[in-house]
Symmetry: C2
Subunit: 286 residues, 2 copies
C-alpha cells in the first residue's frame, strides 16, 4: 500500500474537525492557513472558548451536526469509542458526499464501523504517532506531528481521492504517511504504546509514597505515560484487548528473564543481558 | 540530619575529580569558576583530550595519584565498583588530610568502604539525582544539577566541615542537599531508578523487530533508561541486589493486578484503576 496518491486541493477544501483536544487542536493549528474553511466542534465549553480566542476556526460549535454541514472532509478527533459513536450518527447529519478520516489510537473497531457507512461516505482510518502527557487544546502545538509517522488504514472501499487527501494531510502537518492494515496497526501499537502505558501504570502503583523525594529524571521518563488521560486509555484498552494482552505476555516473560538473570548472580550473564538491552536501544534511537 | 552546616570556603579549595564522565564532567563545568584549583583524572584519552580543549582543569591526567596530590577535597565520579577500587587505593596516594565525597548511584557498599579509610580522611557519600541517556564528557552540562536533589549519606565519623562542604557543593551546582542513611537511599532509589531501568530493559527485550516503524514518543520515553551504560548499571545492580529484587517484586505484583483487571473486562474496575494511576502521576508531577 505504498506509493504517491497525487495532489489534493487542500486550499479549496472545507474541513470539519470533531474534537479539539490535543490532537484535534494541533491539527486545526497546523491546517488553518492551508484550507478553505475549518469548522470545529467540541462538547467542552473551555475548549470552545480557547478556540474562539485563538480564532482557530470559521465556526466553533458544541454541535457536531452544525460543524459537518458544509464540510467536504470530516476529521474525527475524539477518544476511540466517541469516534465509534460519531460514526453511528454521521449519516443522520449529512446528505452530501464526504471523506471521513479519524485519528483514533486503535483502528480495527473504527474501520469496521467505517465499513458500515452509507456509500456517499469515503472513509479512511488514521493515527498520527504523536502526543504528549498533557491533554487538551491548551497544550496543542502545530508542530506536534513534525517528522512523525502518520499511519493510515484504508478500507477496500477507500477511494484514491481519500488516499490523496490522507497523504496531503500528513505532508501539510509535517508528518510522513505510512499505510497499514487496521489489525497490523493495532497489534504493533499494542507493543509500542498500549503495553508501555500499562507498564508505566504498574510503576506508578508499585512505588511506595516515601520515594517522593528521590524521583529523578529517569523515573519521570519511565512513568510519564501513567499521566495519560484515563478516558482515552480506557477506550484504547477496551477496543484492543487481545493484542494488549499478547504484548503484556511478552513483557512479563521478559521481566522474568531479567529477574532470573539477576537472581543467579552470574555476573557474565547479567553483563551480556544489559549489553543486549543497550544495543537494542541504540539501534532504535541513535 | 537536616540543618545548615555553615559556609565552606570553596574559593580557597583545591578539588580533585576522579572520573570525568557525564556526572564528573558536569560537576567540573559547574565548579571551575568557584574553586581555587581543579585536578581531573580519567582513564579515557578522548575524555582527557576534550577536557584539555575545554580548559576544564588545572591538571588533566590519566593518573589519579597525580590528581589527588595537592587536593583538599577528592570527588569520586566513577561507576560504583570503580569508586570502591579507588577508595582501596586512596591511602597509598595521599598522606595529608582530605575530604572524600563520591557521587556513585548506590551508597551502602561505598559508605562501608569509606568507614575503613584511615582517620586522616573525612568521608561522606553523595548522589546527585540527575542524568541523561547519553553518557560521557561530551554530553556534560553545568546546569545538569539545577533544582535537583543532591543526596548525601554522612558516616558517623563525617565531620561538620565535610557536611558544610557537601552543602556548599550542592548549592554551587544549583542543587538542594538531602541528608539520608545509605541503606534508606539504596532502598528508595531501587524503586525510582534501578527497577525502572529493569522495566525499560524488559520493554526493549519484549518488542518484536517489526514494531520499529511505530515507535512514538510514549515508547521513547518508557524505554529511555534501557539506553543507560551497561557498565554503570551492572555495578549498581550488583551492589544493590536485595533492594532491587524487592522493588521488582512490587512491580511484578502491580503488573499482575493490572492484568487481572484487564482480563475480567469489568469496565468500572478498569476505569477506577486507570483513574488511580493518573491521580498518582499528577500528584507527583503537576
Amino acid at each position: 500500500m505504498e506509493g504517491d496518491f497525487g495532489d489534493f486541493p487542500l486550499r479549496e477544501t472545507r474541513i470539519a474537525i470533531l474534537g479539539t483536544g490535543l490532537i484535534g487542536g494541533s491539527l486545526a493549528l497546523a491546517l488553518r492557513e492551508h484550507v478553505r474553511a475549518l469548522y470545529l466542534a467540541d462538547p467542552d465549553p473551555e475548549a470552545r472558548a480557547l478556540a474562539h480566542t485563538w480564532n482557530l476556526g470559521d465556526l466553533v460549535t458544541p454541535h457536531p451536526e452544525d460543524a459537518v454541514r458544509h464540510a467536504q472532509v470530516i476529521l474525527l478527533a475524539a477518544p476511540v469509542r466517541a469516534i465509534l459513536d460519531l460514526l453511528q450518527r454521521l449519516p443522520q447529519w449529512i446528505a452530501h458526499p464526504a471523506i471521513v478520516v479519524d485519528v483514533g489510537s486503535t483502528k480495527t473497531a473504527i474501520c469496521q464501523a467505517m465499513a458500515a457507512l452509507p456509500p456517499r461516505f469515503d472513509p479512511i482510518g488514521g493515527h498520527p504517532l504523536a502526543g504528549k502527557t498533557e491533554a487538551g487544546l491548551a497544550h496543542a502545538d502545530p508542530h506536534l506531528f513534525r517528522e512523525r509517522p502518520f499511519i493510515f488504514t484504508p478500507l477496500p472501499r477507500t477511494s484514491p481521492r481519500a488516499r490523496a487527501f490522507a497523504q496531503a494531510l500528513a505532508y501539510v502537518v509535517g508528518a510522513f504517511p505510512l499505510w497499514m492494515e487496521p489489525e497490523a496497526h493495532d497489534r504493533l501499537v499494542a507493543y509500542t504504546s498500549h503495553m508501555p502505558y500499562l507498564l508505566s501504570a504498574a510503576l506508578a502503583l508499585a512505588v511506595p509514597p516515601e520515594t517522593r523525594d528521590v524521583m529523578g529524571p529517569g523515573f519521570a521518563s519511565t512513568v510519564r505515560l501513567a499521566g495519560s488521560s484515563p478516558r482515552m486509555m480506557l477506550d484504547i484498552l477496551m477496543t484492543n484487548l487481545d493484542a494488549v494482552l499478547e504484548a503484556l505476555d511478552a513483557l512479563q516473560d521478559a521481566l522474568w528473564e531479567v529477574r532470573r538473570t539477576l537472581e543467579k548472580e552470574r555476573e557474565k550473564d547479567l553483563q551480556r543481558l544489559l549489553q543486549n538491552v543497550a544495543q537494542r536501544y541504540w539501534a532504535w534511537f541513535r
